[in-house]
C-alpha cells in the first residue's frame, strides 16, 4: 500500500500537467510516467503478466508510435489558443470537475466488500492461470482479436499509403524547374547559404551573416526556425567584437 500512496500523487500530477504543457512531446513523456506507474500498480495487485504487457505494449510500442508520429508531423505542431466554440474551454473544465467529483465521491461511497485477493486464483502462477482461462473460456474472443489486429495492420497501411499522381521527378526535371523559377520570380539559382559561420560556435542553429551583418534567411532549417531554437547572430557578433578588441590590444 506504501507503493500506492507514493505513486498515486505522482500519477495524478503527471496526468494533470499533461493537460497544461504546451508541447505535445512533453505530454507524451508525462503519459509515459503515468503508464509506468500504472504498471507498478498492476504488479502490486498480483498481476505480473499485465505488468509486463503494460510495459511492453503501452510504454514500449504505443508511446514509441506516438513519439514517432509526433516527429513526422513536426514538433512545432502546438495547440492553438483560439476557441472555435465560445466558452467551450471553461465549460469543459467545469463539467469535467463536476463529473470528477461525482464519480470519485460515488465510487468512494460504494463498498467493494472484503477483498478476496488472488492467492487461490493465482495458484500455480499468474501466467499459467491466465493462459488457462484465456485459451478455454475466452478462446473465441482471443481468436477474434487476431482478425482485429490484421484489419488494423491493413488499415494503417492503406491510410498511410500515398498514391503517386504523375511521374517521379528526375534530376533533369528539377534542374529545369529551378531555371523556370529563376526566369519567373528571380529565385536564386544556387544552393542555400550554409549556416554556422563562427569558429567558436559553428553549428546549424546559427544563421549565416550577410555582408551588412543581418542574418541570411534560408541558411537555417525551417524546422529549427519553427521550434524557435535559432541562436541570435548579432548576439554572437558582440562576442566577436570583443575578441577582435582583444587582438587589437595585443597588437
Amino acid at each position: 500500500m506504501i507503493g500506492f500512496w507514493i505513486l498515486a500523487p505522482i500519477m495524478v500530477l503527471a496526468a494533470v500537467s499533461m493537460l497544461f504543457v504546451r508541447k505535445a512531446v512533453h505530454s507524451a513523456l508525462l503519459l509515459a510516467v503515468v503508464m509506468i506507474s500504472l504498471a507498478v500498480l498492476y504488479a502490486i495487485q498480483d498481476a505480473p503478466f499485465l505488468f509486463a504487457v503494460q510495459i511492453i505494449v503501452y510504454t514500449g510500442a504505443i508511446l514509441m508510435l506516438f513519439l514517432f508520429v509526433l516527429m513526422l508531423v513536426g514538433v512545432d505542431a502546438s495547440d492553438s489558443i483560439v476557441e472555435t466554440i465560445k466558452g467551450q474551454r471553461v465549460f469543459a473544465i467545469a463539467v469535467g470537475l463536476v463529473f470528477g467529483v461525482v464519480l470519485t465521491l460515488g465510487v468512494a461511497q460504494v463498498s467493494v466488500g472484503t477483498v478476496t485477493g488472488l492467492a487461490t486464483a493465482n495458484d500455480g502462477g499468474n501466467v499459467p492461470a491466465i493462459a488457462k482461462i484465456l485459451f478455454t473460456k475466452y478462446v473465441f474472443a482471443f481468436e477474434t482479436t487476431s482478425a482485429l489486429l490484421i484489419t488494423a495492420a491493413i488499415g494503417a497501411m492503406v491510410l498511410a499509403h500515398r498514391e503517386r499522381f504523375g511521374p517521379k521527378k528526375t534530376q533533369a526535371d528539377l534542374a529545369a524547374q529551378r531555371m523556370r523559377d529563376y526566369a519567373d520570380s528571380g529565385k536564386h539559382l544556387g544552393p542555400l547559404p550554409p549556416p554556422g559561420v563562427f569558429a567558436r560556435h559553428n553549428a546549424v542553429d546559427t544563421p549565416a551573416l550577410l555582408p551588412d551583418g543581418t542574418a541570411a534567411p534560408g541558411s537555417i532549417s525551417r524546422v529549427l526556425a519553427a521550434r524557435g531554437t535559432v541562436k541570435n547572430a548579432p548576439e554572437l557578433a558582440t562576442d566577436v567584437a570583443r575578441l577582435t578588441d582583444d587582438e587589437e590590444d595585443d597588437a
Binding site: 500506492f4 500512496w5 498515486a8 500519477m11 496526468a15 499533461m18 493537460l19 505530454s27 507524451a28 503519459l31 503515468v34 500504472l38 500498480l41 495487485q45 498480483d46 498481476a47 499485465l50 504487457v53 503494460q54 505494449v57 503501452y58 504505443i62 508510435l65 506516438f66 508520429v69 513526422l72 513536426g74 505542431a77 502546438s78 495547440d79 492553438s80 483560439v82 469543459a92 469535467g96 470537475l97 470528477g100 464519480l103 465510487v107 468512494a108 460504494v110 467493494v112 477483498v115 485477493g117 488472488l118 486464483a121 491466465i130 482461462i133 475466452y138 474472443a141 482479436t145 482485429l148 489486429l149 484489419t151 488494423a152 495492420a153 488499415g155 494503417a156 491510410l159 498511410a160 500515398r162
Partner: protein
C-alpha cells in the same frame, strides 16, 4: 489492502483524460488523453479482479490493451493522413463537414 483507493485513483485519471479530450486541440494530445482513459479503466478492472479473487478482470484488461494497440495504429495513420492534406494536426481545422 483495500480496493477503494485504487478505484478512486482510476476515477480521477479517467476524469483527467476526459477533460483533456475536451480541452486540448492537438489531435495527438487528444489521442493520448484517450489512452489515459483506457489505462484508468484497466486499473479499475485489475482492482476488481483482485477484490473478487477472479482472473476474468485481468483478461478483460488484456483485451482492452489489444484493442487499444489496434486503435492507436489506425488512429495515428488517420492523423498522419489529415496532416498530409491540411498541414495541421489541430482538430479544429478538420471541419469541412460543417459546410
Amino acid at each position: 489492502m483495500d480496493a477503494t483507493p485504487f478505484i478512486v485513483l482510476s476515477a480521477i485519471l479517467f476524469t483527467i483524460g476526459a477533460v483533456g479530450v475536451l480541452v486540448r486541440r492537438n489531435a495527438i494530445v487528444v489521442f493520448m488523453c484517450i489512452e489515459l482513459m483506457l489505462n484508468a479503466s484497466n486499473l479499475a478492472l485489475i482492482t476488481f479482479s483482485r477484490a473478487n479473487g477472479n482472473l476474468d478482470g485481468q483478461i478483460a484488461a488484456f483485451f482492452v490493451m489489444v484493442v487499444a494497440a489496434a486503435e492507436v495504429v489506425v488512429g495515428l495513420a488517420i492523423i498522419m493522413t489529415i496532416f498530409r492534406t491540411r498541414r495541421s494536426a489541430s482538430v479544429d481545422d478538420a471541419s469541412l463537414l460543417k459546410y
